[in-house]
Amino acid sequence: MKTSKDGVITHMCSGRTDSKDEDSVSENSAAADKNGLAGGVACLSATNNGNIIQKRPPTVTKKRIDVLKWNGWGYNDSQFLMKNDMAYFSGRRYPIGDMHLPFLVQWAKDSVKFDPKNNIPSRTLPSPDEYPKPIIQSGVLESIKSTGIEYSLDGVDRLVRAHGQTLEDIYMLRNGPMPRIPDLVVWPVCHEQVEKLVELASEHNFVIVPYGGGTSVSGAVTTPQHESRTIVALDTSQMNRILWVDKENLTICCEAGMIGQDLERALHEQGLTTGHEPDSYEFSSVGGWVATRASGMKKNTYGNIEDLLVQAKMVSPQGTLVKGLSHVPRSSIGPDFNHVILGSEGTLGVITEVVLKVRPLPPCRKYGSIVFPDFESGVKFMREVAKQRIQPSSIRLVDNEQFQFGLALRAAPTMFGAVMDHIKRSYLTVFKGFRWNSIAVTTLLFEGTKEDVAAQERKIYTTAEQFKGVAAGEKNGERGYTLTFVIAYLRDFAIEHFIIAESFETSVPWDKTLMLCRNVKHCINEECKALGIEHPLVSCRVTQTYDIGCCVYFYFAFNWLGKSEPVQAFERIEEAARDMIIACGGSLSHHHGVGKIRARWYPSQVSALGVELYKATKQRLDPANIFATGNLLTPKL
């Protein structure tokens, strides 16, 4: 632990100490620390009236594979497995951890013809000589060494930073051929080191791909395959300090590499929270949120990243872009350059430091759920909630397929529980006239004081009655939210058994919502039919509500046993679905970003002049295309 001259206490992160064990890594952290801190504070010029004590080391270490899977999502110790012919979730990190899930297999058999016997194992972690030899332009290594910034040429280090979490990425890792991967990984520890690196890149004309949490599902961090220059993966994970906390104005400044759960944990100790909770928040970084325009589950209370962001620093080859000198609530000073940084997807520079709004931790938190006879009534209800602006922190609507899926993820019920389940089910189907296979469910999360929560609940449940909604209890709501973080693990389990499962999202005006859901589902089914894929599972949910529309998430899965090239099939389906989304008036993306896999639609979304404007910005900030990530605009080959 180390106290800075400004009184901010930070920890010595493990990355800075354990690197001694690695041969290929040079280190020179002390000086950098000091610079970074001083620089950060000076630049962002805030008064600092709080002390931060971050006791824990960061969750994700520099050697990522010690904690995280190299070929899939999340922690090494957490995954779905088959155990005694039953699905089982390992580890104890999640609510369903170390539990048998007796209904899951049957559900999967029914919906996607899952068969536990069909197994397609992943390759093992490649041995050191299997990685492509790094392409290192002359002088690059020497100059990086001279800065004292840690780096690595190790194959595993490079491979794990060559990809995000798209299906293509994961399939490549598990069974595909070895692609182009970064040639070098660097771990700057502060803003100044990043500036130094970007300077070197301009000098030696190498490529920098910023890498934060690696959770991108747009191909944005995936290594550009046709780049001949040296590609340096700039891992921001060692820039993970909270630089200051301003409890008076409720703002904090943190470095961009900090991942969500570490930030929240540290803030909770101070009785604060950002309230930003994207589904990836366990692993995604603050810089990544800004660069992709992330959205959190509880945006109704706290806002999306663009609402939370007060200021961001971005290092571009032409200098550091930072807006304003003081942290004001809003301003009218021409176009807001924060919005050049927001959504830049690593194409303009590296985000290094970020000032965010924070809120006091809410004293009361309560879940809830409402059952609707069908998805349509659910959507009408959501629209009404948005119209009245009575959203709780989170409100989501899942369709029948996901409702059934949620049930499938139950643990074995007790005798009493089974009886109760039966009674509840009968109540809905017999007394309320609901059809079991058309029911849709809204899950709710209320936050605030006890009184606030009670008032919110009252409003929500009365409104729901107008749409034939029936309150279905806290338990169901809570399950819905706790499963959020587990669902991402399911894809790896599925892929191991010949099932491709993926999700994509969009935002759409209210009056087009039902039309879009219906047409996209139909489109996916038809596309699957055309590809000879039987029994695709298509499901959707409304995850966010706004005044004028909502965010819709689609999930789909299909069994590709007996077919070849599942990734191509998937891409064809996703492309058709995206065309359909756009035809129905939906957006290219609500919060996943454009990246590489949606770049072909970008021009039609922002207009030709918009593209020119973006290009002009890129030309001004990065004329030599150091940040040649290939995101947003498909590069001309």
């Binding site: 087009k512 879009l516 139909h522 129905c584 008036g585």
Partner: protein, 731 residues
């Protein structure tokens, strides 16, 4: 000698097409391969009905397949009407109308409710089963068989559920929709909601019974009634969007009295497609269904109507009488061919290569897509029209009557040979033809004649004769005629020929384009040569003149033209000596003669128009009567040979085309339509038409069709699997 000259010229014009173009053409034809239905896949659905109890069958428990699965309960038709009443559009309509007319909303609402009651179907499965039972009993008496291409239907059924399904049958008889419902019931598909004409509604009892069998009613014309239009449209769209029953409508708008396909009507189609353009349904599957009857039950009615003999009003009592009559006649088979389902979404994204956009709509593009699609559906129906032995026989007999009426009589043996020959030729043309093997030809022909004893008989000497006694015109002389009151003797001879022409018309869509080209080539001068471009120009002229006679869709003219050239090349022009010259001439003569009633009829009309004063104004009825009288005169004097020229359908089609061409001036005076002639233009059209019209071409049919060179045909049809099939059955 003219014909040989002509053969050469056609050959040379065809060979003028480079081999590269040829490849493209062939590819084009394989893409637009005519019928993809296999004759052997037909199943007679009545077979099963003759084996087991109708009552048990009708009352069986079943779980019919829905066309578009919905999450809500759809079983109550009155709830459905209520939902329409409460829909956003109707609410808005009521508000607007009440404001506009300054009447209270409740009063407007009452009007809407009345309209909904007038339109609405009243699905009642019990009634449907009862009606079905009666229908099955009757239909087994009337028809020998109802044949269905079952494999296609089962596939369609399997794919139902994810979006609305619209059956689009061709309309040749009132039996069409009854049989459709019977088939859907047989195959456990939900009974479609059928758009029916108002004339049914006014029938005692039947109106309500049909409602219970899922019929809903549509006025023939909407006029300026904004309320009716909106209510009807909302009703129809609600059926698609929120209903789960298949939809059924007749794109031709009415029963085709002439048995030709009618040009598509776009009113209802536009209404059906709108929910798709709005994104309210993800797709609409259209199922073209082609009905073919060995013997159209209403043939006599149609023939009389074409000639202008007054038509009795449809009423329940006349229907019962008709049912009684049915017992005495033998009606053969009905063939119901289900075409390839057409996904509208795929049609516009793939065939028309347009990008979907439900938010920023493009009305003019939507209109052109609707028009295009309407023609596509009619085209798909045409492709799968079955040509049966009687259709072939009608062509043969009709041709014989035209060229040899006074001369030699037509022997059954000779007719059989020609029918077999024609079957092979049409197969090669890509039509779906009943195979007529040579050795069974005579039996098949005899059977066909038996079904049509009212118009065609065979005497002891084995001679085919038109029956002239079947029709007693004296009954009608007192009634008010639609056109000119025809002479009795003319009627007697015309009637059987017009009936035969109905069956010829049924096949004409396959032959009309090749026939036009043949006629044009036939009339080339001494030189006998024509460039492809010139040929196409002339072809387009004839098409434009007959655009109301046959379904020609202008944007497809070039493709149709190229396809026809290719077909002609396949069957009549081949380099080398594989084909006997005799065969060419025979087909050429036949094609020209097929077009003869139309070209000669049109020419007569034009000549008659030439004699009219430019200043005179004519009402439509006056004009038709005058023209029909003139044609009757020409027939009696022997200048015209074919009595089908008397057809009011032909005359009104001609008037309509001439109006479109601007030759006739159409104006509305005090609400009635009036015509006047433009002398210069009519002179020009007449002279162009004169160049194309001569008398029927005689060709000694009995000479060589018996010794048909089958090897030659085999060589021809390699590129055409349909043809090979037709031939192999002949071998």
């Amino acid at each position: 000698m003219v014909t040989t000259e002509w053969t050469h010229s056609l050959t040379s014009s065809i060979t003028a097409i480079s081999s590269g173009e040829m490849a493209v053409l062939i590819e084009g034809i394989s893409m637009s391969k005519d019928s993809d239905v296999n004759f052997s896949s037909f199943i007679n659905v009545l077979d099963e009905r003759r084996r087991s109890s109708d009552f048990m069958w009708m009352s069986r428990e079943m779980n019919p397949v829905k066309s578009y699965r919905q999450n809500h309960d759809t079983s109550n038709p009155y709830k459905f009407q209520y939902d329409v009443l409460k829909s956003r559009k109707i609410k808005k309509l009521i508000e607007e109308v009440s404001k506009q007319q300054n009447t209270p909303e409740s009063q407007v609402e009452k009007r809407v409710i009345d309209l909904l009651k007038e339109i609405g179907h009243a699905r009642d499965p019990a009634t449907l089963r009862l009606v079905g039972l009666c229908f099955v009993k009757a239909v087994k008496k009337i028809f020998d068989g109802i044949y269905v291409n079952e494999d296609r239907l089962l596939k369609i059924k399997q794919n139902m559920g994810s979006n609305p399904v619209v059956f689009v049958p061709s309309h040749r008889s009132y039996f069409d929709f009854c049989i459709m419902s019977f088939i859907t019931f047989s195959y456990e598909i939900e009974t479609p909601c059928i758009a029916a004409g108002m004339d049914f509604m006014s029938m005692f009892l039947m109106g309500e019974i049909l409602r219970k069998c899922n019929a809903f009613y549509m006025r023939r014309s909407f006029g300026d009634d904004q309320i009716y239009r909106t209510v009807f449209q909302e009703y129809v769209q609600h059926l698609l969007i929120a209903g789960d029953l298949p939809f059924e409508f007749f794109i031709e708008g009415t029963r085709s009295r002439s048995s030709k396909s009618l040009p598509p009507k776009f009113g209802l189609l536009t209404m059906l497609l709108e929910p798709f353009f709005l994104g309210e349904v993800p797709d609409i599957t259209f199922l073209p269904v082609s009905f073919t009857y060995d013997h159209i039950v209403e043939e006599g009615l149609f023939a009389r109507e074409l000639l202008g003999v007054p038509k009795p009003k449809e009423s329940t009592s006349s229907l019962l009488k008709a049912i009684n009559l049915i017992n005495e006649v033998h009606y053969g088979n009905c063939y119901v061919v289900f075409g390839e389902p057409i996904s509208f979404r795929k049609y516009i994204t793939e065939n028309l290569a347009s990008k979907l956009n439900f938010v920023h709509r493009n009305p003019s593009q939507e209109t052109s897509q609707t028009v295009d699609f309407g023609h596509h559906i009619v085209g798909s129906q045409q492709k799968n029209m079955l040509i049966t032995s009687f259709h072939l026989l009608s062509i043969v007999v009709g041709n014989h009557q035209l060229v040899d009426a006074a001369g030699k009589s037509l022997q059954v043996e000779q007719a059989s040979k020609d029918v077999a020959w024609l079957s092979a030729v049409l197969s090669a043309f890509g039509a779906l033809v009943q195979p007529v093997p040579h050795r069974h030809a005579a039996a098949i022909v005899m059977d066909a004649v038996k079904q049509h004893s009212s118009v065609l008989t065979v005497n002891e000497a084995g001679t085919l004769q038109l029956a002239t006694s079947a029709f007693d015109p004296s009954k009608f002389t007192a009634c008010s005629w639609k056109g000119h009151q025809l002479q009795e003797d003319v009627l007697r001879t015309a009637y059987p020929m017009v009936v035969l022409q109905l069956y010829i018309n049924h096949c004409l869509h396959f032959l009309v384009s090749p026939a036009i080209i043949t006629v044009i080539m036939q009339h080339l001068g001494e030189d006998g040569r024509i460039t492809k471009h010139e040929l196409f120009e002339k072809y387009k002229f004839v098409c434009s003149l007959m655009t109301h006679e046959f379904v020609f869709f202008r944007p497809w003219a070039e493709k149709t033209f190229e396809d026809s050239l290719l077909k002609l090349e396949l069957v009549s022009i081949v380099e080398g000596d594989n084909l006997r010259l005799g065969n060419h001439r025979k087909l050429q003569a036949l094609l020209c003669n097929l077009l003869y009633p139309f070209t000669s009829g049109y020419l007569t009309i034009c000549r008659c128009l030439q004699t009219l004063d430019e200043k005179d104004l004519w009402s439509e009825k006056q004009l038709m009567t005058t023209l029909q009288a003139k044609i009757e005169g020409e027939l009696r004097s022997g200048n015209l040979q074919h009595p089908y020229c008397l057809s009011l359908d032909l005359i009104s089609s001609c008037i309509a085309s001439l109006t479109v061409k601007g030759v006739l001036n159409r104006s509305r005076v005090n609400g009635t339509v009036q015509y006047s002639v433009k002398r210069d233009d009519i002179n020009q059209v007449t002279s162009e038409l004169e160049c194309l019209t001569v008398g029927p071409i005689k060709y000694p049919f009995d000479k060589d069709s018996g010794s048909l060179d089958l090897d030659a045909y085999k060589a021809l049809s390699v590129s055409d699997s349909v043809a090979v099939e037709g031939l192999s059955s002949k071998l």
